[in-house]
Amino acid sequence: MSAPLLEVSDLRVEFPTRRGTLVAVDGISFSIAPGEVLGVVGESGAGKSLTGMAIIGLLEPPGRVAAGEIRLEGERIDRLPPERMRRVRGRRIGAIFQDPLTSLNPLYTIGAQLVETILTHLDLGRAAARRRAIELLGEVGIPAPEARLDHYPHQFSGGMRQRVVIALALAAGPRLVIADEPTTALDVSIQAQIIALLKRLAREHGTAVMLITHDMGVIAETADRVAVMYAGRIAEIGPVRAVIHAPRHPYTVGLMGSIPRIAAGAGSRRGRLAQIEGSMPRLNAIPRGCAFNPRCPRRFDRCLAERPGPLRLEAGQVACWLYADERQ
C-alpha cells in the first residue's frame, strides 16, 4: 500500500460539560490511502460525524480534540492555528455535507460561489476561474454548465444541488474529500447517480474519500474499506467485502442482520428481522469494558471488565475479546 494520505491515531474528542467530560470519540485510529474510499458507518451518536469534523477542524466548541494526532500527507494538522487550518480546508481537504441547501448561499449564484472558492484557493485570474468553474460543473454532470453558472441554488433540484456542492468541494483539487451523508437527503434514483460520481472522481483524481454514512448499502457500493463505529470507538475495520460478508464483531453481525433486504425469491414477507436489543448508550453512561457488552449476545466476563483494543485479523482489525485467542 502506498503511504497513507490521511493518518488518524488515537483520536479523542471530548465535550467538557458542567456535569463532567463526555468522550464522543474515544481513541480511534485509521488511515486512508490516495484514491481510496474509506466508509465510516455507524448509527446516530456513534461519533462518525464528529470524527469528520475533527479532521477538518470544524468541531464546535466546547468540543475539542483532547488527544491523538491527525496527519495529512505526513503533516500534523490537528494543532494548526485557525488561519492556517482555513487554508488547508478547501485547498487540501474538501467537505460535502448532507443537506445541499444549507451548504450553498441562497443569495449568490452558484457561479459566484464557485469562482470565489477558486480565487480563494488557487492562483488564477477571474476569467480563468470562471472557465474552471464551468469545467467543474461539467465534470460533476450538470448539463449546459455555462448557462447554469448564473442560476441561484433554488433553481436547482435536490440532486443537481448536491452536484454543485461536490463541485465546490473539488474546486481547489483537494487531496482528501470528507463526505458526510452525501446521499441521505436524496431519493434512491438520484443516490445512485451521486455515488457513481464520487467513485469516479476518487479513481480519476486519486483523491482519498472518507465517506460517512449510516447506510450500509451505500458503503457496499462505494467503499474499498469500511470502519464500523459504535459509541465513539471503532468496532471493526477492514476490506468492505470481508466486513459485509463475514462480519466479526457481534455489533457488525447484528447490524448486518437488521438491514432489510429485498429477498431474491418472491413473496418472502414476514421474515423476522434480526434485531439488536436495547439501544446505543448515552455518552454519559458508556459501560465499562467493551461499550457493546450490555447488548452483546456473546459477552463473557472479560468484556465487562476490560476494554478490547484493536486486534489484527487477516486484512482488518476488530475490537472484540472473542478473537483474542485466535491472534496468539
Binding site: 434512491v188 433486504r261 429485498i262 439501544s279
Partner: protein
Amino acid sequence: MSGNDRALVRLVAVGRDFDVSRPWLNRVLEGAPRKLLRAVDEVSFEVTRGETLALVGESGCGKSTIARLIVGLYAPSRGTIAFDGLELTDPARAAEAQRARRRMQMIFQDPYASLNPRWRVRNIVAEPIRALGLAATRAEVHARVGELLRQVGLAPEDGEKFPHEFSGGQRQRISIARALSGNPEFLVCDEPTSALDVSVQAQILNLMTELQRRLGLTYLFISHNLAVVSHVADRVGVMYLGRLVELADAGEIFARPRHPYTRMLLDAVPDLDMTGRSRTPVAGEVPNPLAPPAGCAFHPRCSHANARCEAERPPLALAGHALVACHAVAEGRIAP
C-alpha cells in the same frame, strides 16, 4: 375497480389539488393565473381487511397526501373514499363518517415532532382513550395505559416520564401505543421507520408485524424504502407524480416488476450483497409536479417511450397478475 366486502378501505378516482398560486394582489397586478398542484390524481385502490398495503415512491409522488386524505387531514378534491362500506366524503353522512374515523389511527415519521414535549407519556397515550370515552374511571385508564406500554415493549412506569427521556426508537413505540389506545382497526403508517437507525428500525418493524398478527390490524404502510416494504407488505402500490403506476402482490412486484419506473426503483436499491450487479444509472430526476409532462408522466425518463406515451396517458390495466399503467407493457413492447 369492482368492490369486494373484504375491502376495509376503498379509494375511487381520488384526486387532490393544492392551490400554490401567488397571493391575490400579485395575481391581479401581474396578471398571473391561478396555479394548481395536482398532488394526487385518479388514484383507486382497496385495502383488504388484515393485510398490509404499501405505497412506495420518491419524494413528491403523493404517497403521504393519500395517507392524509384517508384519515381526513385533507379533503379530496375529486373522487370518493369509503371505509367499511361507508362513504367518508359524503356530506350527508358526516356524523357517521366521524364515528368511522375513530376506527383508524395514524403513525407519523418523526417521533421527535409528533409527541407533545410537555406531556407525560401516560397522558399522551391516554388522550385517545379519554377523547373517545373508552374507559369509565381513572383506574381503568391507568390500567389500559400500562397494558399498552407493555404491549409496545416499554414498562408501565415509563408513563411517568416525558418524551425527551426516550430515544428515537422508544418514542416511536410511544407513538404506536398512542395509536393503539383508541382500539383502531386500521393504521396509516407514514414512513414510520425512516427517522430511525437500522437496528432500531428492525425492532419497530418486528413489533408492528407482531401487533398486526395479534390484534388483527390492517395497515397502509407508506415508505420510500423498497427493502423495508418487501419485509412488511402483502401488496405494493408504486406511485409516480401523483398517480398509481403499478399495483400487485408483493411477491409479484419484487420478482416481476413490470412498469419501467418500478424496474428503475428496484435497480436503484443499493446492492448490499455485492453480487457485482451494477446499478443502472437513472437518467434525470422527478419532473416539477407543477408542470408534469403530458401523456405518461414518466416518459421523459423512460427508455421505452414512444409517440403514444408522450401524448396519451396510460390507464391502470391488468397485465399478468399486476395492474400496470404503461402503454409499452399493454402493447407487449416490454418483455414481461
